[in-house]
């Protein structure tokens, strides 16, 4: 059978999400960010909320998120996305407001904003990309870097006696009464991608239903920062990261 017999609107099963525009993403080949961007765009489109969604992008690799997904965005100062989102949501309670943050932004410089927004139960969704490294600045240690993992600022591997242990911030956030959803997912297989999409959808629905703060952590790979090819990086992530950051719901009210 040739192409013409198979392709058409009625046989279409997967295509670029409608809210993702034609701007080429700046991410490295194989980066998890692109996959999660698509999920965010698909969910907003499926919910029909493109006109009432405001995204808050971070400082880090996702600093250009606003270029790729056709909704209104604000790009926050490093770590402050939850504070920015707090104000947007409080001042516009009928909008869907979410942040999209990396591990440095959310779990290092912005720890206070993250915890306090969640503790207040701000009606926002937080998409948290945890790839255990600082990608944009060239591969330095993140708060979530695994023990013994090598980065440019722990070239002999992270030593927990000196550098502390990987910060399980979503486990911490799950303890807060303001949080209605704290879940950890990944996007390294098609099945994992579908599950993550369901949880992002739930988080966005929670935000609109004013149920409190929802956090979706996506354990991700950073093949460039890890100095691996994309396939090896995903495999390494599955073998090493998921034991420290196991997928599953930490809280789902």
């Amino acid at each position: 059978m040739d192409k013409n017999e198979l392709t058409g609107a009625e046989t279409l099963v997967y295509a670029k999400p409608r809210l993702v525009n034609d701007t080429e993403m700046h991410y490295c080949p194989g980066c998890s960010h692109g996959v999660v961007h698509h999920l965010v765009a698909e969910v907003i489109d499926e919910l029909g909320w493109a006109e009432k969604t405001i995204g808050v992008s971070p400082v880090g690799c996702a600093v250009f998120a606003h270029k790729y997904v056709d909704i209104d965005w604000q790009q926050a100062a490093h770590g402050r996305a939850p504070a920015v989102a707090t104000a947007i949501k409080r001042l516009n309670p009928d909008k869907m407001v979410f942040t999209y943050q990396g591990d440095g932004d959310l779990a290092a410089i912005g720890t206070a904003e993250t915890i306090h927004a969640a503790n207040r139960g701000e009606n926002i969704a937080i998409i948290f990309i945890n790839n255990a490294i600082y990608g944009m600045t060239g591969g330095q240690m993140a708060p979530t870097t695994l023990n013994q993992m090598v980065t440019t600022t722990c070239p002999e591997g992270r030593d927990p006696r000196i550098m502390g242990n990987p910060l399980k911030i979503v486990d911490m956030l799950a303890l807060l009464d303001g949080v209605c959803l704290a879940t950890r997912q990944s996007v390294h297989t098609a099945a994992a991608v579908k599950k993550t999409k369901r949880m992002i959808k739930l988080a966005f629905e929670n935000a609109m239903a004013n149920k409190g703060t929802s956090i979706v952590e996506v354990v991700s790979s950073c093949n460039a920062g890890w100095r691996m090819n994309p396939v090896d990086a995903n495999n390494w992530m599955a073998e090493n990261m998921l034991s420290v950051f196991p997928v599953g719901d930490l809280k789902n009210l």
């Binding site: 493109a50 006109e51 009432k52 969604t53 405001i54 808050v56 992008s57 600093v63 250009f64 606003h66 270029k67 056709d70 909704i71 209104d72 965005w73 604000q74 790009q75 926050a76 100062a77 402050r80 504070a83 920015v84 989102a85 707090t86 104000a87 947007i88 409080r90 001042l91 516009n92 909008k95 206070a112 904003e113 306090h116």
Partner: protein, 358 residues
């Protein structure tokens, strides 16, 4: 302006005026000597009446970034702090200026540097009018010298901020913030509807609509040639503000041999010094910059050829004096008198300093 006269602190007047202006949100963190602003707002509970949101943030960093978020939606939002807290906010203020967002900032200054003292000071002049945060930006800076002006400058600050899409700062200190005087509060104004905001601020991130492309607010531009264009645009706007928005007050300047130049609380003190000096037959006037940026350089230059000398009086080691000297450009001597670290000079102290100059 309402008919009723109230007696209140400058800090309280700012809170009342913000609610009456129809502000949409206040985000702050307590610090002396300005905590009455958030305390009064919490007492007024405007979310029950006008719908204005009042939030105690977890830090000054969070507060200024909440302002960024709210201002990015075209809302009339504000924050307040005092010196050391304002230092923490400076990064956010640079972002707000770069993002061309309107908002109102209030700094009720205390003595520094460091944690310093909670007593009144004017030592954040440089921080406010020369930068503070990084990059080439400017803050419209209003210096009230009475409780009435504290109330009035809320509306003025917001209006200028929206007119030019740039942050405004009310730069005041513990004297004006803590003192009580008579004040006539402005009439209540309705908060703008979302429709009105969308019309006034087409750039606001309120959710894309089919008739426009998505709005995004970012201050990052990796292409230096585009970043230079952005800067040129900002500078053109600042030039326009300098041409249109200079404000000052002249007190008995016409026949003056000597001019005191002072803003805010120091200007109040100098008002009395002028009286004391005139009683002794000294022809002394007061020129009070109301906008510290844009600075009233032209009027100072005009007086430079008429008076014998100028004395700036500041609650700092000599900051505004640099702008006065630039304005008169060496045509005549400009001296400085100031007290530091939270000490407020009295009118007699100023008179003594003035006599040394004469």
């Amino acid at each position: 302006m309402s008919e009723e006269i109230s007696l209140m602190k400058g800090n309280e007047a700012i809170a009342h005026a913000a609610v009456r202006y129809g502000a949409d949100g206040y985000f702050g963190y307590p610090i002396t000597p300005q905590s009455e602003i958030i305390e009064t707002l919490m007492e007024l509970a405007p979310w029950k009446t006008t719908g204005m949101i009042v939030m105690q943030a977890e830090s000054e960093l969070a507060a200024i970034n909440m302002v960024y978020g709210g201002a990015g939606c075209g809302k009339a939002v504000m924050t307040s702090s005092s010196s050391t807290g304002m230092s923490l906010k400076m990064e956010g203020i640079s972002y707000i200026a770069a993002g061309e967002l309107p908002c109102l900032l209030v700094n009720v200054m205390r003595g520094g540097p460091g944690l310093g003292t909670i007593q009144p000071s004017q030592s954040d002049y440089f921080q406010t009018v020369k930068g503070g945060g990084h990059g080439d930006y400017r803050l419209i800076t209003l210096a009230p010298y009475s409780v009435q002006e504290m109330a009035d400058f809320v509306a003025l600050g917001f209006d200028l901020a929206f007119k030019y899409r740039t942050p405004s700062m009310i730069l005041t200190d513990g004297v004006i913030g803590q003192m009580m005087e008579k004040v006539r509060l402005p009439e209540f104004k309705r908060r703008r509807s979302e429709e009105e905001i969308r019309k006034q601020c087409p750039w606001a991130t309120l959710g894309r609509t089919p008739d426009r492309a998505p709005n995004f607010l970012t201050t990052l531009e990796m292409d230096s040639s585009l970043m230079e264009q952005r800067n040129i645009h900002l500078q053109a706007k600042y030039k326009e503000i300098q041409q249109n928005e200079v404000r000052y007050q002249e007190v008995l300047c016409d026949d003056a041999d000597y001019l005191l130049v002072a803003f805010g609380s120091a200007a109040r003190i100098c008002l009395k010094t002028v009286d004391l000096a005139r009683a002794e037959g000294l022809k002394v006037g007061l020129l009070r910059p109301i906008t510290l940026w844009p600075f009233p350089s032209e009027i100072l230059e005009k007086y430079a050829s008429k008076v014998k000398g100028m004395l700036t009086v500041e609650l700092n080691a000599g900051q505004m004096v640099e702008d006065v000297r630039l304005a008169v450009n060496g045509k005549m001597p400009v001296e400085h008198y100031g007290r530091l670290g939270g000490i407020v000079p009295t009118p007699d102290h100023v008179l003594e300093a003035l006599k040394k100059l004469i």
